[in-house]
Symmetry: C2
Subunit: 458 residues, 2 copies
């Protein structure tokens, strides 16, 4: 007999895990909706032509490919098999793959449905994605992304609203966080000022590493990458900047005053900070020049959220992109978006135990019966309780009372109601608080009142 | 440039579709939770060893298989390629498949997590499943199942609760439905009484067809399948039964009185009908002997729901099974469950236009601004409105007023608020009802009051 198991890197979610995860997803959803973002969903499978080439060579390797149905060998060029050329043969026998992120399917969606959509189009999307990565702690082959994007508007108000969303989501989740903010145009301005506009990627990758390996090593790496020493020299003042947001921005204003794009980036970030102050954003926002993020498609704002009290990677990130839909033939659509890392947020909430008390128990009361006659009476009580909005259950089996009690305990159900022959005659039942052990004799209206009172207590 | 498209048989869901679907899913979820069913989720990918052989030969063919990552040809026996043996070669190069339904993954889950679960275990699960079926109207390659099952209890109270769930879900959705009820043990009793206990499958398949092809053809088919003519003759009184539930059950009591299993089935169905009456179930329940359903694993109750006002297949179905987890090495776990067909329910609600008014528009108000200064003021108003619980948005771009109006119209946003220079000075704004065209001059508290009043009106 096979021992049941699931593929490595994937997870089952038990009821208590699900209820905690739903609390996170529902919080995020509620805020997205409040800010006018509307839900969409796309299929788990996309055509490989949609996915390939969008995530770099490494990404292509990490795509899960679906084997064509039926007699797939018939249509394939089998000579590749002899050469053991798995990569090319894969494309002979599979046309579809599982989605790798929500961004590329969203771009495909916008282009495909351009005539049904009103722009600016604000959408959110909460769905799993799949990557054939090596599984390790905190990295899964199936995980959830929660994205909100607005496309078809380049107004900085959109950046502001995403910041407000971030503030509100983490406020509701009671998490202390810091928002790091940067602008790709500033990075481009720096590349321009040091005379290396084409080496933006090298520079940003290096800047991204400064916190991890320090200035000296970063300089070393840049020289190894054959950046001219005088350019690297010119870069150092940018890397060495100190002080609060205002001071840093002031320093940059001087350093970048001759770069049009750099000055534009500074103006954008200052506007976003100004608007945030005006509408009363309380979130800690740190302008962080080292924030570059791996993704190459950001063209304006770049943002990232870190938890203050737990050492874990970024729990939310995003930015502005100017040509996301270009790859599908629809140029000049500017967009900005953020993505919440639900799995990491889940880890942080677990670690700090930040869930509200109720989140894991839905059922408030279990009716325990001594026999068949009592059960029939219990079913009618149950019906009345449910009608009154009390989430209640009955133990379906005529099991021993102790077994029924254990069941209530294991399920974390806070109250049990005992129904015996005397109780039926008197219409008065014993309500037991499973935590305190307190018992009270109550009629049906009394039970309803007690449980509705206690809604927040236990 | 490639024209963006999705794989055939799959669907994108736009915001208006999503909001309508969420209304259905949320209704079902709320009722599941009310009855004490707790959510679980399982991975999209299962090991093929979990899936293969569980859905018959045809089902195996319809599984979407995932190509192994990396150099999959290295480990494969490539001789099969020469023979064009796609079926066997597939198993050389793929180990995982997409889930085909929620039932087999649930059985795997129960066995794998048996020590973390309290039995009876009541779970619900709402997730997509994938089948490489030929796509056609109403049949998709990716579709959602909404299952509720309880395992580890053979009490008929569980059947009763599923009936109550069905009544409540369709009541909330305002759909008129009929529940068909049968019991596999009655069918087994019939097979026994006509002397063919081994031909149960042939008989139930035939019975299942009676509505479609009529008695004569069914008899013909049975004879073709080489059932002895005298057995077929004995079957006819069962097929010819008339009358209401009570009369049919009475007829069967006589016909089946010498079959222990048949009598047990009758007793079960009578108990379920008795309990339903006792707790006040109002749903139309029809005992229907022709209800057999394709699935072979039901051992007790069989149920199916049909919409009264739309010609469409079953919109919900289920039954009791006694050995679901046996295939994974955990015998003797009795369970009973139902599955709502969300896609068909969606079709019915669309056809009858049964959605509540609000379901498609979340945003109630769009703030329109004449210029930059007005926009900044508008942002602060927006903040205050959102704090007061009014779902509002601002148009992010300083577009022409007409363009902003069109946007509100296209999005179905019921109110717009105009913010110009005068409005800022007087703190009095023009609120326009987009449907009636009515305008009123209101201060912020007035706007909040008006919109909260109108919550149910538009």
């Amino acid at each position: 007999m096979q021992k049941p198991a699931i593929p490595k890197g994937t997870r089952d979610f038990t009821p208590s895990e699900m209820l905690r995860r739903e609390y996170i997803f529902n919080t995020i959803k509620t805020v997205f909706k409040k800010y006018g973002y509307a839900p969409i969903e796309t299929p788990a499978m996309e055509n490989l032509s949609t996915l390939l080439g969008k995530y770099g060579e490494e990404g292509d390797k990490l795509l899960f490919k679906i084997l064509n149905s039926g007699d797939f060998l018939q249509k394939a060029d089998n000579t590749m098999v002899a050469n053991n050329d798995s990569t090319r043969f894969a494309l002979q026998i599979s046309e579809k793959g599982l989605r790798y992120d929500l961004t590329v399917p969203f771009a495909r969606f916008v282009v495909q449905h351009r005539n049904e959509i009103s722009f600016p189009f604000k959408r959110y999307q909460i769905q799993p994605v799949w990557r054939a990565d090596r599984p390790q702690k905190g990295r899964y082959r199936e995980f959830f992304q929660c994205d909100a994007d607005v496309v078809g508007s380049d107004a900085l108000i959109n950046e502001l609203e995403l910041i407000q969303i971030i503030e509100e989501v983490f406020g509701l989740l009671k998490m202390e966080v810091t928002l790091k903010l940067n602008n790709r145009k500033i990075l481009a301005g720096i590349a321009e000022m040091i005379g290396l506009p084409d080496r933006l990627t090298d520079i940003t990758v290096a800047i991204d590493k400064i916190e991890k390996i320090g200035l000296e090593k970063v300089v070393e790496e840049l020289l190894q990458k054959e950046l001219p020493p005088d350019s690297v020299q010119k870069l150092i003042p940018f890397l060495n900047m100190q002080g609060d947001n205002t001071r840093k921005l002031q320093t940059l204003k001087n350093l970048l005053k001759e770069s049009a794009i750099g000055s534009k980036g500074l103006e954008e970030i200052e506007t976003v900070l100004f608007l945030s102050r005006e509408v009363g954003v309380q979130l800690t926002i740190v302008f962080d020049l080292t924030l570059a993020r791996g993704l190459n498609y950001y063209t304006g704002a770049i943002m990232e959220v870190k938890a203050n009290d737990v050492a874990i990677g970024s729990i939310c990130g995003g930015g502005r992109y100017d040509n996301l839909t270009g790859i599908f033939g629809m140029p000049d659509v500017s967009g900005v978006g953020i993505s919440f890392g639900a799995d990491r947020i889940y880890d942080v909430l677990n670690q700090l135990n930040l869930y509200p008390d109720h989140v894991e128990t839905a059922t408030r009361l279990l009716i325990l019966c001594f026999g068949e006659k009592e059960q029939l009476h219990g079913l009618k009580l149950l019906q009345a309780l449910r009608k009154a909005g009390v989430q209640a259950e009955i133990h379906p089996d005529l099991a021993k009372l102790k077994k029924q009690m254990t069941y209530a305990n294991n399920r974390g159900i806070p109250f049990v109601l005992l129904v015996g022959e005397d109780e039926i005659t008197s219409n008065t039942y014993t309500l037991k608080n499973m935590q305190s052990g307190d018992q009270s004799q109550l009629t049906l209206p009394g039970i309803i009142e007690k449980l509705n009172q206690n809604e927040d207590a236990i």
